[in-house]
């Protein structure tokens, strides 16, 4: 019985010839990640441990990004705790305001994540790096502490679901629609404890940013990780961003999967997840009544990359955000921000009446920079639409692609660029 791509990476990191689903292993870690919410708890736990310091100062990434720039005194104290820990332990990859970005957009851009890596992060969207052919998964603060101290973590080897991707997406369909479609199909616990392995000839039609978005939301189906094969596009990305060596693993031909699905990209339509679960999906064509909204957010670790901003700009160019609506656009990293400036995207956004912010996770988790009042509705390119996620417990979040979010900002109701004749 062969191994899946994930199983092969885990076997290598555990120094084993072979692993199988369900097996408990201890693996060496390539990188341990934390942010300003989860790191303070991990640092407190690590202080209790009888260890001298971190296992490797180059293999830890600390990215204050959730409530940064500090939203209040308590957040400032958390960030100070992370900053002082980074200084004390001489952490190479600590990213201060001015150089930081949203962690899951920042780390690949900085070349810290490559194919074959085993990465844990105290943030559930750590699964993003599967887009590059790495095994990466979210953990809690205690696992982060143990990882920082020892460079190891224990894992139960996951079984897998295979998604065979074929065809090519239409103009206004993107990676977000692919993953929302999948979550709608299998449910928010459809991949519980499992790896989601994306394969097939259609993958060549997905940009790296599409793949990051898809892998990012594997957790929204309960998945342990999401992973893509390493093709020329992924290699090109790694060569451009990283000088670290990478290792390409491929699933065995006789690898066993719990389930297999075929996703024909050419049949997908703009897809929106209604409150209050990412599995409550509807295509734009199924929405018969006007859903009037108050706010649009374009950004986050899911959809704050340059491709996302380009799509939003294409829709918003020469248009205007509907009067009374707020449209908040958040480039995910400083580099993306700069790129958007150089390409003239920021000008398009500001002329359209949108506000553009420094990188932050802020509104996605109801931290700041766009909190919703009672019964307000938001179309957001973020990843969760749980009760109270972006503000008041009666507010509503509709998850969508940057194209749908931008079109909705213009009309003030859930819309797609198709309706605008684009």
């Amino acid at each position: 019985m062969g191994m899946t791509m994930t199983q092969k990476i885990l076997a290598a990191a555990a120094g084993l010839e072979k692993v199988e689903a369900g097996q408990l292993i201890e693996a060496n870690l390539s990188l341990v990640l934390g942010n300003d919410i989860t790191s303070p708890v991990a640092i407190k736990e690590m202080d209790k441990m009888k260890v001298e310091g971190v296992f490797n100062k180059d293999k830890i990434a600390l990215v204050p990004d959730h409530f940064v720039p500090n939203k209040d005194i308590k957040s400032a104290e958390h960030c100070k705790c992370v900053r002082e820990f980074a200084r004390k332990n001489d952490i190479t990859n600590y990213f201060e305001v001015g150089e930081m970005g949203i962690e899951h957009a920042l780390l690949p851009e900085k070349g810290l994540t490559v194919a074959g890596d085993v990465i844990i992060g105290a943030d559930s969207h750590t699964c993003t790096y599967g887009a590059l052919g790495a095994f990466s998964t979210g953990v809690g603060s205690t696992d982060m502490a143990a990882g920082m101290a020892t460079g190891k973590a224990w894992f139960k080897v996951p079984s897998a679901i295979k998604f065979n991707i074929v065809g090519k997406m239409d103009k206004w369909v993107s990676g977000k629609d692919v993953i929302l479609h999948i979550i709608g199909m299998i449910g928010v616990d459809g991949a519980l404890y499992k790896s989601m392995e994306f394969v097939g000839e259609g993958i060549k039609n997905l940009s790296m940013d599409d793949r990051f978005t898809i892998a990012n939301m594997a957790i929204e189906a309960g998945g342990k990780n999401g992973i893509f094969p390493v093709d020329d596009l992924a290699i090109e990305y790694m060569k451009e961003h990283s000088n670290r060596p990478y290792t390409i693993y491929e699933a065995d031909e006789d690898a066993v999967y719990d389930e297999e699905y075929t996703i024909d990209l050419s049949t997908l339509r703009p897809t929106i997840a209604f409150p209050h679960l990412p599995e409550n999906t509807h295509t734009i064509d199924d929405i018969k009544e006007d859903i009037v909204i108050d706010q649009v957010v374009i950004g986050s670790c899911t959809n704050g990359r340059i491709d996302d901003l380009r799509i939003a700009a294409k829709v918003l160019e020469g248009q205007h955000v509907k009067k009374g609506m707020r449209c908040i656009i958040i480039p995910a990293t400083q580099k993306i921000y700069m790129q958007a400036m150089e390409e003239g995207l920021l000008k398009i956004f500001i002329e359209a009446g949108a506000v553009v912010s420094t990188p932050t996770c802020g509104p996605c988790l109801g931290g700041y920079m766009g909190i919703l009042a009672e019964k307000e509705r938001c179309v957001s390119t973020t990843n969760r639409n749980f009760v109270g996620r972006m503000g008041h417990v009666t507010s509503e979040i509709y998850l969508a692609s940057p194209a749908v979010a931008a079109a909705s900002a213009i009309t003030g109701k859930i819309s797609s660029p198709y309706e605008l004749g684009m």
Partner: protein
């Protein structure tokens, strides 16, 4: 090891955002987090919960964000055990790591209602519904997990080794 208490019952996909909303994540103090535990799904929970009480839910408890603040808040609120049909994987790991006992048991999840008095024997995995006079066999914790819970978390357990 045993637990005994009154049950708070919830449904599918209780996410970590409703267990402890992010607006309170500017704190990492367990006692402070406990005062907002379950706030967005059951605003009376904090008022009504007593030390030893038990949470019972159905599928995918603890889904969403990896925030360890969620099991920390539940434990600090006095809850002695969470029983569910299934748990989201990061929550499962976090709960064990901080020493909050959790048990996967579909039958118990179906056969226990809000307000029932329940007793749990962690050594055998037996769950007794004293109100209804029924019992369920959950999975007993492997020895190393019992030790982690007895040590009140992974870090103490590693230190004690």
């Amino acid at each position: 090891m045993q637990a005994k208490g009154t049950v708070f019952k919830y449904g599918d996909n209780v996410d970590t955002d409703v267990i402890i909303p992010a607006r309170y994540l500017n704190s990492s103090d367990p006692a402070e987090l406990a005062t907002h535990c379950m706030e967005d799904i059951d605003k009376d929970f904090v008022k009504n919960v007593k030390k030893g009480d038990i949470i019972v839910a159905t599928k995918n408890f603890g889904c969403g964000s990896s925030r360890e603040h969620a099991p920390i808040a539940i434990k600090a609120a006095g809850v002695s055990c969470v029983i569910a049909e299934t748990f989201a994987r990061i929550f499962y790991r976090n709960a064990i790591n901080i020493g909050l006992p959790i048990i996967e048991c579909a039958e118990a999840s179906k056969g226990i209602d809000a307000g029932d008095d329940v007793e749990i024997d962690f050594n055998t995995g037996m769950i007794y519904n004293r109100t209804k006079g029924t019992e369920f066999k959950g999975q007993a914790f492997p020895e190393f997990m019992q030790k982690i819970i007895a040590a009140e978390g992974l870090i103490n357990y590693i230190n004690n080794k």
